[in-house]
């Protein structure tokens, strides 16, 4: 029997900033116990040795100041609790200690354990409960934004764990290049919010292929007119700025930007697709690039090594990194009117899953991918071949008519 997968023609990814799974969706364990979020057993020691439990006291803005450290050495501390010995075991016990390092304030450091209540995030939590939420989607590396976003574009960060410009190394092309240079040709676009927000993929994509880019307004228009490309990557607004039409509040949810502005963006993107003639043929992935230094309780698993290594003098820890461990868990939700309500996915994914999925779906066999991408699981099964029903998230044979609606 055909399922929604047979109707799929467009994939859209919206990648937000710097919030962990427990921080944003941890409260949902109380609503759906299958969702692996906050429980009473969780804690982190502060610098006095006292256990600090997660609490539903997160605020939309002004609380996580300074911005929690999420560079490689800090995340190493967060994951391993300060253990730097060779045979160490990850324990997710270093978050409060890590945050203490920034302001030397015991009380303030405990706020890294705060999370949002369900009612605080009506958009994200509704989408998580109504569609498919991933219990095990991790950042690609235990580090910051630029290299994690690189995995979403290229399936690798070319050996980088820092925020510096990097060069693309052949033969690992961006997912966009693969699609537009394929035979037959496919279409792809990166929609940044506007030129004042721009993109985080400047040095390679914007500098060399600016024709790939459109604006958020164009995205909304393309949704309304049914003109979305095969694959779209949407970036939020990364900074507060004025425009001719008024104030544009940053919507990426990166601390200390207002989380509610990001909720509004997610709702707008969802509603633009839901109201689009392409809604029956589109899947939307809402995902976060990394955890932003904020607490999560799930130990990131080991993974296949990449072709590249980060040398010891570039990691900040004095130890080489072979890209054989994922980063901290992040919220990830797949949305489509063909996904059963309340779907919870327990397979392991990271951002390399994005180019892996899009490539296999639109191009089929394609070998010029990084080892990390080759080993990444995919979240949408390819069409045209026998589909394992246990893996197909777009499994309904009748399109839902009860999808949520937000006032935007």
């Amino acid at each position: 029997m055909p399922t929604g997968l047979d109707s799929l023609e467009h994939i859209v990814v919206l990648m937000m900033e710097n919030r962990s799974f427990d921080h944003m969706l941890g409260s949902l364990t109380d609503v759906n116990p299958q969702i692996d979020g906050i429980t009473d057993q969780l804690s982190n020691p502060d610098t006095t040795g006292s256990p600090v439990k997660p609490q539903p006291l997160a605020e939309f803005q002004g609380q996580l100041d300074p911005d929690p450290d999420h560079h490689f050495p800090a995340v190493d501390l967060q994951i391993f609790g300060g253990d730097t010995t060779p045979n160490r075991v990850a324990n997710m016990q270093g978050f409060v200690k890590s945050y203490f390092n920034q302001r030397r304030d015991v009380g303030h450091s405990q706020k890294i354990m705060y999370h949002f209540k369900q009612a605080d995030l009506p958009v994200l939590t509704t989408l998580a409960l109504q569609f498919a939420v991933f219990n095990r989607w991790f950042a690609s590396i235990p580090g910051p934004t630029i290299c994690n976003r690189a995995f979403a574009h290229y399936g690798t960060s070319f050996g980088r764990v820092d925020m510096n410009p990097f060069d693309v190394i052949e033969p690992f092309k961006s997912i966009y290049s693969r699609l537009i240079n394929a035979t037959p040709k496919h279409t792809s676009k990166v929609y940044y919010y506007d030129t004042t927000s721009s993109t985080m993929e400047v040095v390679n994509l914007l500098q060399n292929e600016p024709q790939l880019f459109g604006t958020y307004q164009q995205f909304l228009s393309d949704c309304a007119k049914g003109l979305l490309p095969d694959y779209s990557f949407v970036e939020p607004n990364y900074n507060d700025h004025e425009t001719d039409s008024g104030e544009e509040v940053a919507s990426d949810q990166h601390p200390d930007h207002d989380v509610q502005a990001g909720e509004l963006l997610i709702a707008e993107v969802y509603m633009a697709l839901k109201n689009s003639p392409l809604w029956p043929n589109t899947a939307l992935l809402v995902v976060y690039d990394e955890h932003g230094g904020i607490y999560d309780h799930v130990v990131p698993p080991a993974c296949a090594k990449d072709k590249f290594s980060a040398p010891a003098n570039s990691t900040g820890t004095g130890v080489e990194f072979d890209f054989d461990r994922l980063g901290v868990r992040v919220p990830a939700i797949l949305i489509s009117p063909w996904i059963p309500k309340g779907t919870v996915v327990n397979r392991v994914f990271d951002h390399a899953s994005i180019p892996a999925t899009v490539t296999k779906f639109f191009l089929g066999d394609y070998s010029q991918v990084s080892p990390r991408e080759m080993n990444a699981d995919i979240f949408i099964e390819p069409q045209g071949q026998a589909v394992d029903p246990a893996r197909n998230l777009l499994s309904l044979s009748t399109m839902r008519t009860d999808c949520p609606e937000f006032n935007v």
């Binding site: 009506p122 510096n164 506007d194 040095v203």
Partner: protein, 119 residues
Amino acid sequence: MSVIQVPRPSKNAMNPDRPVNALLLAQVEHLQHAERRLPLRYRSEIYTHAIKTEGEAAVYIREVTEAIHKAHADAAALRAKRARRPKKEFEIAAAAERPSPKRSSRANKDSSAAARRKK
């Protein structure tokens, strides 16, 4: 299902004077990396080391992003203009190579006469 209300951000959410965060500073650095490869006429006059606020970063980000787009657009326009020109030049050159029927018989007579005189 009833429509779910989405609260709007507070009026105080907007703050372009907020100290610039590490992500925006990285973005500025990446744009500066790209700006250095632009011809001088496209470059900003912004000293990036002086960027301290989100609003200041936003100004630079916009200027360089638009400059990159403009540089590519200008190159594409020039390419299109050049693509039209060579055909015309080749046609003129080809025409010069092809002697006209009248000219060619007269040219042949003249050149034959000149050759005979040399002998």
